[in-house]
Subunit: 441 residues, 2 copies
């Protein structure tokens, strides 16, 4: 029976870092029993070492001197939980250069500067583990890397940002306005003081970049992802679409799509209406879920907490064990992408994507207006599938809700321009994708 001692440094003792320290200090015996690895927290490094933390560090472990970690050749694994894309990148490169494998939850860094970091790891002969970077405690990186290894993945549909999902759930289930739901999410600890990167879709896109590179084995440039957030969503649209049987989710989607005679990868993050019967519609509050479609396995789906101290620490700890056992290193040495030669993703142009749409038009309440609208849609090859207009005597214009059959994004963009040009439109039309995740039947 092996019983190897593995020394670990944790850099960055925020919420997740503290959770990781807690696991290493309190569960090392249990982990040793299961795995034969004696995990030892040798360094816990943070600029602020005076703040009270709910962990009792052994003497000498807590300090603020990164150099001590770099100089300590007995440390095999370093966990970077500083966050951000600048300082964290320099820290990771130093850790790698000093001969340590790196475990991280830093999705922004890997999505935006991954090539540079992966190259540094390869140059140093080390590896990077990042299960905690996507979907918190859900072991989805492991599932793609190992469990689905024999599959060609055709699509991933995910709810990968707990903040947005909490806000949208509050709006949908309790008819709260966006601003109210956001404020309450901040008070409940589900949104940061500055929630920009969450609500504008960037965080979801970071995760999508990492997951897609892994699933499709192609090099993903972060800039290739089209991103819309939830920060301009109106409660009205959630209510109207709710009447028609739809729920709004912020989806991160990566899938192979045909366009003309070619196929390419569509990478997009946007709010979408999905039918209440779709499994992803039931994922509420701060939970995440991701559906992955493989050619052999069909539809599989993974659900759990997408953030938080202990769920994310659970993923970091799993990575520490996996790196210590050499599994991540063996995977990293061979993985297409992640700094190794891989085809750059061939993209499906956004305008070629076929999808259904929800439209809300603020139309003047007079004869002929609906005919104008229908004509513009028809001229742009868009067929109406449903319509909702409540009787109203409130003013001179009414909201007209239209849902469409599958149509090209490009055609809808043209139709929206034409609709905006109508003098019977009181406001810019609202257009939201209605998404039907692939079915495995």
């Amino acid at each position: 029976m092996e019983n190897r001692k593995i020394k670990i440094a944790v850099i960055g003792l925020g919420t997740v870092g503290t959770g990781v320290a807690k696991i290493l200090l309190e569960k090392s015996q249990q982990i040793s029993h299961k795995t034969g690895l004696q995990l030892e927290l040798a360094h816990a490094v943070d600029v602020d070492i005076s703040r009270p933390r709910p962990v009792a560090f052994p003497p000498g472990v807590l300090h603020n001197d990164l150099q001590r970690v770099l100089d300590d050749k007995t440390v095999q694994i370093a966990v970077e939980l500083v966050g951000g894309t600048t300082l964290a990148g320099e820290i990771q490169k130093k850790l790698l250069a000093s001969g340590k494998d790196v475990v991280t939850a830093n999705k922004a860094l890997l999505a935006e500067r991954g090539e540079e970091i992966y190259a540094a790891a390869r140059q140093a002969g080390r590896c990077i583990a990042f299960e905690a970077s996507c979907c918190g405690g859900i072991p989805v990186i492991g599932a793609i890397r190992t469990g689905l290894a024999a599959n060609t993945i055709s699509a991933m549909y995910g709810i990968v940002n707990g903040t947005c999902n909490y806000i949208l759930s509050e709006m949908s289930l309790k008819s709260k306005e966006y601003a109210t739901a956001l404020k309450e999410a901040q008070q409940a600890g589900f949104a940061e003081a500055d929630p920009t990167l969450d609500v504008n879709g960037t965080d979801s896109a970071h995760k999508l970049a990492i997951l897609a590179e892994l699933a499709f084995g192609q090099q993903i440039r972060f800039g290739d992802i089209s991103i819309r957030g939830i920060d301009r969503i109106c409660l009205d649209d959630i209510i109207y679409a709710g009447e028609m049987g739809y729920t709004m989710k912020l989806l991160a989607i990566a899938e192979c799509r045909s366009f003309g005679s070619e196929t390419g990868l569509s990478l997009r993050v946007h709010p979408a209406f999905i039918h209440n019967d779709a499994p992803l519609a039931k994922v509420s509050g701060p939970f995440n879920a991701i559906s992955i479609f493989g050619d052999a396995v069909g539809h599989t789906s993974y659900y759990g907490r997408g953030a938080g101290m202990m769920p994310t620490a659970s993923a970091v700890a799993a990575d520490i064990i996996d790196v210590a056992q050499g599994n991540t290193g063996r995977w990293f040495a061979q993985a297409p992408g992640f700094g190794r030669p891989a085809a750059a993703a061939k993209l499906c142009p956004p305008e070629a994507i076929m999808t259904k749409f929800y439209l809300r038009l603020s139309a003047v309440d007079q004869p002929g207006v609906f005919a104008q609208i229908a004509k513009i849609l028809g001229n742009n090859n868009i067929s109406i599938s449903g319509c909702l207009q409540h009787e109203s005597d409130k003013g001179d214009y009414v909201p007209v809700i239209i849902t469409t059959h599958l149509a090209k994004q490009g055609d809808m963009q043209k139709a929206l321009k034409d609709l905006e040009g109508l003098d019977t439109m009181k406001a810019k039309p609202v257009c939201i994708d209605v998404v039907t995740p692939p079915e495995d039947q």
Copy 2:
């Protein structure tokens, strides 16, 4: 870059074996690109080598001589897909003794004769991989083994038999009688010609034994699992409980439970009513899902096809890769249970389990009967939570549906005996557990 050739033998070319051969023959280049492993199907062995199969075997690969596999020292991994608990066990032991790691989907063998097989593997210095034994293509074994490795698991609630779930879904959603749904499941290929082990709960219990040993790190004896199947379920009960907001599922449950001042493992397979809002209630048709609760990660859930040629072959192929990379071997060498010293599971006595209940009583339609029933329940510490009795003029007795608050199984068994003794009861009472999976809020 490593580029190792791994020779593989597949023993048993039924549905899954043929799927595995298909993956090995058709996807080896893709797998090599991802993993650096060149998987080569060296032997495909079956007693029947004349049956047409949708795979083109290279010359010499398909044969019926197991001894050739045992003698071929270049074969590193053997896949046992013969099934059953007798011949398959002898084959696995021979394969291990001849120095091959074994990959298998054989849940019955591992659940019922696991200790003997694991001991044979340890004696030979080999390992056993069995991702495909539970939940088909869902990588749940990998999730527990790796992704949740830092967690103490408190509970698992699963729908792990696709045949039963298909039948119950048809009964619930289309109001079919059990016999009809079973017959149609057989015609649709979702049930075997002899469905006994599926519908009586044995197959679910086999999977539960394997999953629980892995999740709890304790030695599970198959006989410790209490098992009830769906083979005596009446459509009436599904309809009545449906009116009250419940769906029936065959659940496989393993969880730590308190009883008195102690705690123990409850291991049980039984049909249960779960609330329509519970995520497991939405898992329909041949799909499987399993919810796992860990102390760090909270609630995670895994969903996908629980059977079928390619989903199960996907899991077998994942295991082949994992074994070839040495990951399974390193895990197996250390895992508590699986033939290594582990505490025998301390059980929570079934009669101490607290649960809610659904009761259907066929009561004579006369004054005082409900009072008799309520008195018996009350005397046995069982509190009524809901009641449903449709007005009826059809005969001299009426079905009375009662749901209860949490009560002890032991108390309910006593109450059922008392109820049976009433001369106002026309038939044996029907009693079905109403289960509330743990919540992570």
